[in-house]
């Protein structure tokens, strides 16, 4: 093969990896269609979209940079509170609120990232838990600002960009959230397929070699942590804008554990895991969780154990794959 051919083929191979698969087109078109075709489910779909954004932000950390965080709700909740307070005190225009929340959460992420970089996986897990606990306590103690355990109410939600009302209009609210999700997802996809994104994968795969080829590990990790925190903050702001109350449940450990679980269920490292996982989680919660709350908690725990035992990176798909393989082997026996 001539060298030009090789180069062309190599370029094409790299291009294939970042190209949009036809399934992705189908998915997003279906998502857009659901605005019009599934009117009774808009509330649930809005929740799924918001949690999907939250989970995708965690995927940037876990799936691409290899940072384990059990306290990502710190940025989610912080973004929610900032958005609410901003709307109450300045303007209720939602997109402005998103930007402010994103910047604020990003800054918090930037500052706290310096703490998270040190040490092993275990230390990181603990530090992230600690950061989230500290944020929870702050929110709890500053009840004059945050409403404490009762929560923050009375947040105005003006029409988006001045002309698209979403307050108490589930269809519009869903459309708004979906557009934000898509926009940020698109950006995330560009990031993970960029040279920066590949350097993150290198850091995740082999941090020693990464620094030995000239990658400044810490700087890159700080950058992605900041972006992930900003995304989480925007997701929190979206939730604040579409529900009547911002409370401590936005920032507690359960929230951090739930989003991690969603991501694990859907699979890490391919960006759609957060969307798949949040959809499965919330739909299952709706069906099972209404029987008895203990019932839901038990099965969530069970799912975690099973996934930890059998799944690798692809969450639910790894388990399906294993079952399919096992069945295939049985059929292959003479």
């Amino acid at each position: 093969m001539s060298s030009e051919d090789s180069v062309r083929e190599a370029s094409a191979a790299l291009k294939r990896k970042r190209a949009w698969h036809w399934l992705e087109y189908v998915f997003w078109i279906a998502a857009a269609a659901s605005v019009f075709l599934l009117p009774s489910q808009h509330a649930l779909l809005t929740q799924i979209a918001i949690w999907a954004l939250f989970a995708v932000s965690l995927d940037l950390l876990l799936g691409y940079a290899g940072i384990v965080s059990l306290g990502h709700a710190a940025y989610f909740g912080f973004g929610a509170y900032v958005a609410a307070l901003f709307a109450i005190n300045f303007t209720g225009e939602p997109v402005t609120g998103l930007v402010v929340a994103g910047v604020a959460a990003g800054l918090l992420g930037l500052i706290t990232s310096l703490l998270v970089l040190r040490g092993t996986d275990l230390t990181r897990i603990m530090v992230t838990i600690g950061i989230a606990l500290v944020m929870y306590e702050i929110a709890n103690q500053m009840s004059w600002l945050t409403g404490g355990a009762d929560g923050l109410t009375g947040m105005p939600v003006d029409p988006v960009l001045g002309f698209f009302p979403i307050y108490f209009i589930p269809k519009n609210a869903y459309a708004y959230v979906l557009v934000v999700l898509f926009a940020l997802f698109f950006v995330a996809k560009r990031i993970v397929h960029s040279p920066f994104g590949y350097s993150l994968r290198a850091i995740k795969g082999n941090p020693l070699r990464a620094s030995s080829i000239g990658i400044p590990n810490n700087l890159r990790l700080i950058a992605v942590y900041t972006v992930a925190a900003a995304y989480a903050g925007i997701a929190g702001a979206l939730l604040a804008q579409t529900t009547p109350v911002v409370s401590l449940t936005y920032i507690d450990f359960q929230r951090s554990a739930d989003v991690l679980l969603m991501l694990i269920i859907g699979g890490t490292g391919y960006l759609y895991g957060g969307i798949v996982g949040s959809a499965l989680f919330l739909i299952a919660q709706k069906s099972i969780g209404n029987v008895t709350p203990q019932y839901w908690e038990f099965w969530i725990g069970f799912a975690l154990v099973v996934i930890a035992l059998f799944a690798r990176d692809r969450g639910v798909f790894s388990i399906i794959e294993r079952i399919v393989n096992a069945l295939g082997k049985r059929n292959a026996k003479p």
């Binding site: 060298s3 090789s6 180069v7 190599a10 370029s11 191979a13 790299l14 291009k15 970042r18 560009r190 990031i191 397929h193 960029s194 040279p195 920066f196 994104g197 590949y198 350097s199 994968r201 290198a202 795969g205 082999n206 020693l208 070699r209 990464a210 620094s211 030995s212 080829i213 000239g214 990658i215 400044p216 590990n217 890159r220």
Partner: protein, 249 residues
């Protein structure tokens, strides 16, 4: 011109001194070998040169500039690269991606977050050419973790060369490579560009004497003796130190 040198380099771990007052000078363009019995402190010295370890005392200079305070990735930017005795690769990336990654970082394009990776044709061309040079043209798009050991070893060196370093530290390049594939590694090492200064750590004396134009012997963390291959080969003190080691080749 001295490409790489250390001045009074020392490393202490509590009571252990794996590197003791080492004054090493590597001339530009040299093929300099560092040998010594097991436990002599060769890998520790490499780690000190690359910045993975901080010295307790002394200096490291690259082309006359003091790099002792610099972190590993900063030293790479100054032109020093290394390979590892045990392969340190990016298992999930393909050789093409890994090499292109190194080239991109070298060209200071690693912070680009919007443009596509692999979209720069110059980088891809260079990556493909380099892969071909290291016998990896036929496995360009396979996951590194699925490659046979010999190919992985080639990639290990390719990644270091892709950074166009001024000084290359090769840590036992033939380690673990089966007999049948050794000659490929040797050819690769012999074919390294002449303007790259190479410091080679090796146990295998055939490789050392076939490749080096200068040899430094390290024993117990200290510089034992240094000279041209002929001198070292005939030095009775070196033979004494290696007695019992030569039989395993």
């Amino acid at each position: 011109m001295i490409a790489l040198e250390t001045l009074g380099l020392e490393k202490r771990f509590g009571g252990i001194v794996p590197t003791n007052d080492v004054n090493l000078r590597v001339r530009e363009g040299a093929r300099h070998a560092l040998i010594g019995p097991n436990g002599a402190g060769k890998t520790t010295l490499i780690n000190l040169l690359t910045g993975v370890l901080k010295p307790s005392r002394g200096q490291v200079k690259l082309a006359g500039n003091d790099i002792t305070r610099l972190k590993p990735h900063q030293r790479v930017a100054r032109g020093i690269a290394r390979t590892f005795q045990i392969n340190q690769l990016f298992g999930e990336l393909t050789p093409l991606e890994a090499i292109a990654l190194v080239i991109g970082e070298r060209e200071k394009l690693g912070t680009r977050f919007w443009r596509a990776f692999g979209g720069d044709e110059k980088i891809v061309t260079e990556a493909v050419a380099l892969a071909r040079q290291f016998g990896l043209a036929d496995v360009l798009e396979e996951r590194t973790s699925s490659l046979p050991y010999g190919k992985q070893r080639q990639l290990e060196i390719a990644l270091a060369i892709a950074g166009k370093p001024r000084v290359l530290l090769l840590d036992e390049p033939a380690a673990g490579v089966p007999e049948t594939e050794r000659h490929e590694i040797l050819e690769t090492v012999a074919a390294l560009p002449k303007d790259v200064t190479v410091l080679l750590i090796e146990h295998d004396m055939d490789i050392v004497f076939g490749f080096a134009d200068r040899i430094t012997v390290l024993v117990d963390g200290k510089l034992f003796v240094e000279g041209e291959p002929k001198e070292i080969e005939n030095d009775p003190r070196v033979r004494a130190v290696y007695l019992g080691e030569r039989t395993d080749d």
